[in-house]
Subunit: 228 residues, 2 copies
Amino acid sequence: MAEPATRTVERALQLLGAVCDAGAVSLAEVSRETELSASTALRLLRTLENSGFVRKDTDGEYRPGLRLVQLGAQALSHESLIHLAAPALQRLVEATGESAYLSVRGHQGTGSDHAVYLAIAEGTHSVRHASWVGRSVPLKGSSLGIVFAGKTPETGYVVSDKGVEVDVTAIAAPLRQLGAAVTAGDSAPLAAISVVAPSYRMNPAEIERIGQLVATEARALLGAGLQN
Amino acid sequence: MAEPATRTVERALQLLGAVCDAGAVSLAEVSRETELSASTALRLLRTLENSGFVRKDTDGEYRPGLRLVQLGAQALSHESLIHLAAPALQRLVEATGESAYLSVRGHQGTGSDHAVYLAIAEGTHSVRHASWVGRSVPLKGSSLGIVFAGKTPETGYVVSDKGVEVDVTAIAAPLRQLGAAVTAGDSAPLAAISVVAPSYRMNPAEIERIGQLVATEARALLGAGLQN
DNA sequence: AATTAGCGTTTCAATAAGTGAAACGCATCA
DNA sequence: TGATGCGTTTCACTTATTGAAACGCTAATT
């Protein structure tokens, strides 16, 4: 498995990723981030712009374009993972009252130390953890971080109390099924589901109950994923 | 405005679009659709695959990849249009009880005769029009088709009775604000909002009432869009 | 069985195409 | 009034993309 890759395209995709990660960036910024010469970055960004993948708004900064939103929305709806996970997330909400998330880790290179929420089921408690689809969260010190590092213990779930956010407890479990699809054969999972709750509402018994629910749903998805 | 574009990248993006439109395609199919030689298509698809924008699943077909879903989700959440439109859609639902949609037309080239739903607010009636984010709908004969053709009359809205689907009435209005952002200066709008309802529940008076609501919300979005 | 057709894949020589240093004009800042 | 940083254009160098052709394969077709 060598690298039969097209450098130009790789760079363009890299730029696209950088623009999306930043939300809005100047030419100088992206070209620094991606370590491309300004002229090259400009040329590629223009190509991306012509195709609608990025747009250059009035203040001259580059932002994700409509074409990307369109394809993303389309892919999101085609993407089996999200559809498969939705009922599981819903069940977790019903069983716990807390918010449940489906996330993937940031792809190789850009933002690989972050996770992105792909789907969300909001909890029913009036005080609940609220985030949004597309939110990028740092992995460091979070339960997702441990899950994506492939260090989930035998119990099948990971708990982080006051990891990323204070007052918040997160309980996560890995989805391994698609392992071979994108990355090479390393044991790190591609996606995870998690329940995130205010810490004051948690106690060891409740945490274990939820943990087992999350782990069970994760394993169930694993089986269902084979339909693809 | 010449064409300072990078051919390789353009082709790769074209392929990406083709894969997304199809949902799942073989190499031979995309290379035919995009009019690229098989070897070129293969090389570019591999590059896209290495970056996670497409994936090649077990049956050898190419599908939208996780990276695209991730960026799309991210962009979707950053994208002001969808956030701006959400309250408007919600208001339309509250005022009409029917489902309301935000859509953009398929981008240049691939799928330009279709529209894609970007955001949805479901109606409150038990019998209601139900679709999903990412759904691609044909423009031909639909009110969206007329709106995207730039042929919206003075009234500010377009009605199509039994256009795309039988028993369904759609009322659409254009969002023009971002006109200059992506496409050249043609008068065609980039996005539209619409209310879609079962025809049996409609009558001329109700249609006019809803039409004016939709047109009003569309114009309001136009103003708000300047914050960007 | 022999034949045809279509697919995914690899190879390779021709050359078309991407590259980045340098220079420019234009802002803003010291 | 220099100095700094930005977006942009130009251009010679040559690297990296290209597509026809050939290969092995499977699955219809004869």
